[in-house]
Amino acid sequence: MAKKMKVRRIIQIVFFTVAALIAINHGLAEAGKPIPFIAEASLHAVCPFGGVVSIYNLIATGTFVKKIHESSVVLMLIVFVSALLLGPIFCGWICPFGTFQEWISKLGRKIFKKKYNTFIPYRFDKYLRFLRYGVLVWVLIMTAWSGKIIFADYDPYYALFQFWTGEVAITAFVALFAVVLLSLFVERPFCKYACPYGAVLGLFNFIRIIPLRRNVSTCISCSKCDKACSMNIPVSTSGKVMNHQCISCYECTSEDGACPVPDTLTFTTKPYEGAQK
């Protein structure tokens, strides 16, 4: 499986490195010593969520939220188009903070082995997953009200990539520490419970053109897909997987992931015979 999913790992490493280089180079550029051929933009300028939080300001006043620029809107639109086609592939493949959490999770798996990522019973957990929508609403309202990127003060991603700058609020460091700690027990805790951008992209799972489908007639109910899912989605009991937490990581699929039966769990536009459409 690991060999099959090599392409996702490579893309994750590339985007994590790019984000880190941009973050470092922005500071160097301000000091007049930029690294050649690396973007000098701020981290805010290349964050697609900046486009989301700017929507209200753009409509109401025609201006961007402070520190956000046109580039964020461009990236937001690119990610939205990709999500409409492929679901939240940005979360599963691109987001550097999701990658960071996955790396921490490797340590958690070594410590807790099979128990890892199963500490919270799903019957409770599935409701906790809606917390991120509360975060999203709060961020949108506060940003619209203040005209500032309020979330930066609580954003563990910002803390991770700017910790050396002196611009990070203590609350963001606390959030980063909490995410690192929780990642030892739960896979992608920030994505599951708190990421406002993940909340937005998660909604695309209900309208995506190419959804994840399970072939009920060939499925052997081995539950390997459930175990492979970092977001704890009960894939093995679904026909068409329409869960707002799916991050399109492909770790569960027949061709590229955990499913041992060919042509049983795939991202496809065509429903399997006898399955829900």
Binding site: M5, A45, T63, S71, V74, S82, L86, D256
Partner: protein, 241 residues
């Protein structure tokens, strides 16, 4: 249509590259502010640049371009020295250099406030925002605000004595480019050098003035006089020089 992982990943990359190239070709790929603040959209000032949209990334040169305020005036207002090349200084450094003084903050919003008062433009200042003491003197001389607005601004001003960017009193010479501001360390000799007469000083003090080398604040403390009651009228005299 069926999509495998490799295809999905490559599709995203292709989509991203196409989107970026398209936005670059159309000129929409901007990762920093255009340095052109938004305009007021309605009311008396419709079409004028709105100081509320000044960003931390703006330099004093950018603000000069947008609002036609001399860089020298802004530099003096915020205690910046000529050798600091104030035109290139970005407003966001104020938070770092000044930060919180006496419970009030000097930062980007202070510059917005200063510009608004200087140009007489409407602006809602954030709670806790302060103006540096020298800014009040500049506004008194050059600003387009009302007396009431200046009075409110004075109440929200703080001294820059404790910061390192401002010149010490002993370094100040009396010429048109130097800001004359009475501070705790200001000596009687400096006041005389700036043009205040002994009679004017003694009239304010209500007694004989101290030695030339003595600071005004030390003199006030020794004689049981509240320094602020002397500072204000002396500053008015200096502003009218």
């Amino acid at each position: 249509m069926r999509i495998q992982a490799k295809t999905a990943g490559i599709s995203f990359i292709v989509l991203m590259i196409l989107g970026l190239v398209l936005s670059m070709i159309t000129g929409y790929w901007l990762t920093e502010s255009s340095k052109e603040p938004a305009k007021y959209t309605d009311g008396e000032y419709a079409g004028a640049s709105n100081p509320a949209d000044i960003r931390g990334s703006y330099s004093l040169d950018d603000i000069h371009t947008a609002f036609d305020i001399p860089v020298e005036s802004m530099a003096a207002a915020f205690g910046l020295r000529e050798e600091d090349n104030p035109g290139s200084i970005q407003v966001k450094i104020f938070e770092e250099v000044f930060g919180i003084i006496d419970g009030m903050e000097i930062g980007t919003d202070s510059m917005r406030y200063f510009v608004a008062l200087y140009k007489g433009l409407p602006f809602v200042v954030e709670e806790g925002t302060a103006l540096p003491g020298p800014a009040i003197s500049i506004l008194r001389k050059e600003g387009a605000m009302t007396e009431e607005e200046l009075s409110i601004a004075s109440e929200n001003s703080v001294s820059l004595e404790s910061t390192h960017v401002i010149e010490t009193a002993s370094e100040v010479e009396h010429d048109d480019t130097v800001l004359m501001e009475i501070k705790g360390k200001t000596m009687f000799s400096e006041l005389y050098d700036w043009g205040i007469t002994l009679e004017e000083l003694e009239s304010i003090l209500g007694m004989a003035a101290g030695a030339r080398s003595m600071s005004v604040r030390d003199f006030c403390m020794d004689n049981g006089i509240e320094f602020s009651t002397v500072k204000e009228p002396v500053q008015v005299l200096l502003d009218n020089m």
